[in-house]
Structures are given as structure tokens and as C-alpha cells.
């Protein structure tokens, strides 16, 4: 056993795809997603890939996708969280009571008072974080398996939510709170273009900073054409996405009502478009923050190290118990954020909010390439997984597949996706 077989590979022998240094698994998933979209579009005579449907798809995905980001960390550290759907209901119930009962009665802040929404969201985030940390403490310090802790949590929090509201539907919710609900809060075309442009510039700057850092230490960066191609793809994707969302026109009847609400008359021939929904912006912010945590912070490094080899992590001086608390607390905070999105999209708190979300979230993370054995997973993959699940579901609904068949297909896709992943990893020699 010598190292003679590991000579540096001459650059010229790499094919162009390799020189781009892209993750082939993610690329495969993106490909599968595109095939899915185009397939549904053909079957539905072009109704699937309309700005309207893409807009709806994105806002339907947000709640599950935000939680899937947190689930990646949970699964990477070799745990599981079965309680997120129930915890979402508890957070939603706490926030519904805060804004409709507690704040108006105790502090005299009425519904739609400017302070109501921020205070409510803060209370919700605190609730989710504390409950998540409590789960993590039981897993990390009391050594109760996460499966059991969160299975118990599933039963407990679903019904704590019920008690908080006496099983009633709570609504209507605060107007400012509901801007996180998707169609109730969008940025409009101009602001969307500006944000998109800024994002594109930021992405390119980050990419070139990375290249400079590598060059500074004198090791091989990608060839120039590869960097330029990647920049091009990023900018096109960001601006294309904004363009699509900016093409979804607000229906004339709705526009007229909006003008009437302000006591004005809509000018003849006036049109406006929705642009980027605030909930999607929230998801993007969460995705960026979580990716930075995963790749560029000690916390993220320790999460992945612990998932790869818990003993090694401990011997390196990492406090793996406290790490478990942090991971579950983060999951709880993201669940609370999803509760904001989910309840404001419904404009009400209902008892069954978030039911079965734990399974959608886990499925999204796993389809997105998170390995249940731990140590492997990406935030981008999990979001893509959530998007694939949602596209399948709404695509089938659009085609007219009955609900039971939809679930059968989604279930089968989950299993097949994981199987393909296993086969791919074996072939590629990745553990």
C-alpha cells in the first residue's frame, strides 16, 4: 500500500464538466427537477410553467423548505425530529393567541397596531427555540433517543396547541403579520428587480473572492472560462427567477379593490405585477444564513464532524452534547418561522396546521441528499427536495390525479430517490 497511485491529475485530462467542479449529485437533482417541470408542462398544455403557477409553487414550498433547512442539521448529526409539524401548530397557536388575545387585552395593542406583528413573531420564535432546546437537552444530556423524544413531542405539542386555543380556529390575524403569507405580501416589480440585481452582484463578488483566496495561497483555481460560466449561470438564474415572478400580473378585479381600499379610482388600463413574495425572500435569507453556518462557521464544521464521527468530534474537544441542544434549538426556531409563514398564508390559525409536515420535511431533506447515517447533506439540496415534492404534488393535482394516487406517487418517489442515491454513491465511491 503506497501512495504512488495518487499523482496529481494533469488539468488537461479533466473533462469540461469536472473543471466546473460542480456537485454531480446536485446537478442530477436539478436535472430531475427540470425534467419534472417540463413533463408536467407538456401534459398540461403549458399550464404548469406559467408565471402564476411558478409563483404559487414557490409560496407553497416555503414553509416546508424552511424547516427542511433545519432538518438537514438534525439528520447530519444522526438524529431525527418527528415533532416539527406539531411544534409548528403550537408556535402558530401561541402567536395567534398573542396577537388576537394577549397583546390587545394586556398591553392594549390592538390588532394591526405596528408593534403587534414584531412582538408576536418574537414570542413565536422564542417559543420554538425554547421547546427545540428542551428536546435537544433531552437527547444530548439525558441520552434519550431523538426518535423517542420527538415522537413524544409530536403527541404533546399537537395537543398543547389545541389547549391554547380551545380547539378553535383563530382569526383574522394581524394585517402586518400576514405579509409573510405569500400573496398577501409581495415586493412589486421595481423592488424585486433591484433586489435581484443586488443578489446577482453579491453572488459574483463572493465567487471571485473565493477565487482570490485560493490564488493568494497559491493553489489551483478553476480555469477562467469555468469561473465565467458559473457566474453566467448564477446571474441568469437569479434574474430569470425575478423576471418570472415579475411577469405574474395582479388580476384587474383585485387591483381595482386595492385602489378602492385606498379611496382612489384605478386608472384605465393600469396593470401591476406581484414580484418577489416576502415569504420567498425569507426562505432565501434562511437558506443563505444556513449555508454560511454549514460551510463557514465552527458550529457548522462541528455539526458535520459530529455526524461523520461522534467519537472523533468529542476527542477533538467538541462539546457534542451542547451541540445537540444548539441543533435542536435551531430546528425549533426555524419551525416557528415556518409557523409564521403557514398561519399567515391561511390568514388563520387552525388546529390541523402543519399536520404531517414532519414527514414532508424529512422527505425533502432526504430527497435532497441528506444521508440518514449522518455527516452528509446540503441546505440547497433540501430546498430543492422540498421544491420537487411540491411540484410533484401540485403537478399531479393539475393533471387531475386523485389525492390518494398523489400520495402513492410521492411515497414511491421518496423511496426510489433514495435508492438511486445509494446506487450513485456506490458507483462514485462516496460513502
Amino acid at each position: 500500500m503506497t501512495d504512488t497511485d495518487i499523482r496529481p491529475v494533469p488539468v488537461s485530462r479533466k473533462n469540461p464538466i469536472q473543471q466546473l467542479e460542480l456537485d454531480m449529485r446536485l446537478l442530477g437533482m436539478v436535472g430531475a427537477f427540470l425534467v419534472l417541470c417540463v413533463g408536467f408542462d407538456l401534459i398540461t398544455d403549458g399550464r404548469f410553467l406559467t408565471p402564476r403557477n411558478i409563483f404559487n409553487l414557490t409560496i407553497q414550498t416555503v414553509s416546508v423548505a424552511i424547516m427542511a433547512c433545519g432538518m438537514v442539521f438534525v439528520i447530519v448529526t444522526r438524529h431525527i425530529d418527528l415533532s416539527v409539524g406539531a411544534l409548528l401548530a403550537t408556535c402558530s397557536a401561541v402567536m395567534a393567541m398573542t396577537q388576537t388575545a394577549i397583546l390587545p387585552e394586556m398591553l392594549g395593542l390592538g390588532l394591526n397596531h405596528p408593534l403587534t406583528a414584531p412582538v408576536t413573531i418574537l414570542v413565536g420564535l422564542l417559543t420554538g427555540t425554547l421547546i427545540g432546546a428542551f428536546h435537544g437537552w433531552m437527547v444530548g444530556y439525558l441520552m434519550i433517543p431523538a426518535f423517542i423524544v420527538t415522537l413524544g413531542g409530536l403527541l404533546v405539542w399537537r395537543n398543547v396547541g389545541w389547549f391554547l386555543t380551545d380547539g378553535q380556529t383563530i382569526g383574522p390575524l394581524d394585517q402586518n403579520f400576514m405579509i409573510f403569507g405569500g400573496i398577501n405580501g409581495t415586493l412589486g416589480p421595481t423592488l424585486s428587480w433591484i433586489l435581484g440585481g443586488l443578489a446577482a452582484v453579491a453572488a459574483v463578488i463572493l465567487q471571485w473572492n473565493g477565487r482570490r483566496a485560493k490564488e493568494k495561497h497559491g493553489f489551483s483555481a478553476k480555469p477562467m472560462w469555468a469561473e465565467l460560466t458559473l457566474s453566467g449561470i448564477m446571474v441568469t438564474t437569479i434574474m430569470g427567477f425575478i423576471w418570472i415572478l415579475n411577469s405574474y400580473e395582479i388580476p384587474t378585479a383585485r387591483l381595482r379593490r386595492m385602489f378602492e381600499a385606498r379611496g382612489e379610482v384605478m386608472p384605465e388600463g393600469f396593470t401591476d405585477t406581484y414580484g418577489l413574495p416576502i415569504s420567498v425572500l425569507l426562505l432565501i435569507a434562511v437558506a443563505i444564513a444556513m449555508t454560511i453556518i454549514a460551510k463557514r462557521t465552527r458550529l457548522g464544521r462541528y455539526i458535520f464532524a459530529t455526524g461523520g464521527n461522534p467519537d472523533a468530534a468529542e476527542l477533538s474537544g467538541i462539546n457534542t452534547r451542547l451541540l445537540t441542544v444548539k441543533v435542536f434549538a435551531l430546528m425549533g426556531a426555524l419551525t416557528a418561522l415556518s409557523a409564521v409563514v403557514a398561519s399567515s398564508r391561511l390568514a388563520n390559525h387552525t388546529n390541523d396546521i402543519g399536520t404531517l409536515d414532519e414527514l414532508r420535511v424529512i422527505a425533502a431533506a432526504v430527497i435532497g441528499g441528506t444521508a440518514l447515517a449522518g455527516g452528509v447533506g446540503t441546505i440547497f439540496g433540501a430546498i430543492l427536495g422540498a421544491l420537487i415534492m411540491q411540484s410533484l404534488q401540485s403537478g399531479m393535482a393539475m393533471v387531475g390525479v386523485d389525492a390518494p394516487y398523489q400520495n402513492i406517487v410521492v411515497g414511491a418517489v421518496l423511496v426510489i430517490a433514495v435508492w438511486i442515491d445509494i446506487v450513485y454513491r456506490k458507483r462514485a465511491g462516496i460513502n
Partner: protein, 251 residues
């Protein structure tokens, strides 16, 4: 005799009523290699894990440079410049060489974010010294050969200026060529004044590399001998029979 670099005095630890280490005293001087010998389950690794902070002793005291040391976790051990190369290597297989080398001690940028480029540069430098053939800097360590993985684990111990180095069967998974490399490294580190505890099964290797050898059996110390005063057979007698050879005991 000068103050020992490390003195573990009267160390004891039990697991579920079984005395894994039973009142054992060993010491180590700068620039010295002390072999720890014994069968599987003799207590060698357990003894050493109390020094590296992985286990908490039930009794006994540790002195570093003559001063009493409190080591309650691996991080404490690192502050005393104690580095350990575990038999299992203790590598996170899903991370690359640089991430493993700096695990728990990441280099960070002024913003507090981990600086992967700087860590890779440092890793390239030290690997260039230890194992010049090593090239797989961006692959997870699961993709490396046994020898390459070993060199990552060694690099981790050497990089942070260890003064006390614990090597738990460092050559168990290696071929002859790589074993030779580890031997050379031990000689080099010894010359730099580093004290090394070497846990090994192989009596011949201990005879070749060590200055003194401490032999354990069933959690007890059979004895510590100067290697040049004993034969292979004497050591084997100590390991197998727990019998101390004549009066060649070291001070």
C-alpha cells in the same frame, strides 16, 4: 534525576466494578520514548486516555513538569500541549484533510468565519514534510488509503507543537514502508525534545524505538525497565506471565 515531563502517579479507574487501571504509576522525560506494553485489555489505552482527557480517573494525580495538572476533557489536555494519535485515528471521514487537521482549532478570518483556504495552505505545507506523496487535499478522508489517513492523524498531532505525544499503535494498519516512515518520525520528534508514550503490541518495535518500557497486565503495572537492560524474551515474560525480570528495574 530531572523533573519528568509527565508523571502519572497512582492512577486508578474502574468501569462497572472492573478495575481497568489499578494504582499505576508511569513517567516520561523530555526527548524520551516510553513504550506501554501489554495484552489487549491490559489497560494501556485506558491509562493513556486519562492523560488525553477522554476518561476521568477515579484516583491518582497527573503532574506536568512537576506541577499538578487538572485534565477533565480533551481540550484541557491540548492546553498542556498533549497531543494524541488514537488507534482509531479519530478522523471525521466525511471531512477533508485540512478540516480534520484543524478540528476543534479552526483558523478563522477576522469576521470569525472558518478560513478554509488558509487551513488548506497550512495542511499542504505540513503534509509536504510528512508525506510528500499526499495530494488529495479536497477529498473526504474516507477516500484516502490507510497510510494517508494515518499521516493526517500524525500531522494533526505534530502541527500544534506537541510537547507530549501519545501514539496508540501508530503502525497497526500500516505496510512496511509506512511503518518505516513512522519510525523515522519518532526519531525526529525525539530529537526535538518531545516526550512520547508509544503503545504497541510489537515487542521488536518497542525494543527498537523506546528508551524505557512499562508493562501492564490486568490493569496493574508489572514494571518499568530500561530497554537496553532487557531482552525480547524478558519483555514477553512480563507481558505474558506478569513476571518481573531480575533486578533491572529503572529508578
Amino acid at each position: 534525576m530531572a523533573t519528568p515531563l509527565v508523571e502519572m502517579r497512582d492512577m486508578s479507574i474502574s468501569f462497572g466494578g472492573i478495575k481497568a487501571v489499578d494504582h499505576v504509576t508511569v513517567d516520561l522525560h523530555p526527548g524520551e520514548v516510553v513504550g506501554l506494553l501489554g495484552h489487549n485489555g491490559a489497560g494501556k489505552s485506558t491509562l493513556i486516555k486519562m492523560l488525553s482527557g477522554a476518561y476521568q480517573p477515579d484516583g491518582g494525580e497527573i503532574f506536568i513538569n512537576g506541577e499538578k495538572a487538572t485534565i477533565t476533557n480533551p481540550r484541557d489536555a491540548r492546553t498542556y500541549n498533549i497531543e494524541t494519535i488514537y488507534q482509531t485515528l479519530a478522523l471525521a471521514d466525511n471531512l477533508d484533510a485540512a478540516s480534520n487537521l484543524f478540528l476543534g482549532r479552526e483558523l478563522v478570518s477576522p469576521l470569525g468565519l472558518v478560513d478554509d483556504a488558509a487551513m488548506e495552505a497550512e495542511t499542504r505545507q505540513i503534509m509536504g514534510r510528512l508525506n510528500p506523496n499526499f495530494q488529495k487535499f479536497s477529498a473526504p478522508v474516507s477516500a484516502l488509503s490507510g497510510g494517508q489517513r494515518q499521516s493526517v492523524a500524525i500531522a494533526r498531532a505534530v502541527y500544534f507543537n506537541a510537547r507530549i505525544l501519545i501514539m496508540d499503535e501508530p503502525t497497526a494498519a500500516l505496510g512496511p514502508h509506512e511503518t518505516q516512515m513512522v519510525s523515522e518520525l519518532i526519531h525526529q520528534l525525539k530529537a526535538e525534545g518531545i516526550g512520547i508514550f508509544l503503545i504497541d503490541h510489537d515487542v521488536h518495535q518497542v525494543m527498537e524505538l523506546c528508551d524505557r518500557a512499562s508493562v501492564m497486565k490486568n490493569g496493574r503495572l508489572v514494571g518499568t525497565v530500561n530497554v537496553k537492560d532487557v531482552t525480547d524474551d524478558d519483555l514477553l515474560g512480563m507481558i505474558i506471565l506478569g513476571k518481573h525480570p531480575h533486578e533491572s528495574e529503572a529508578a
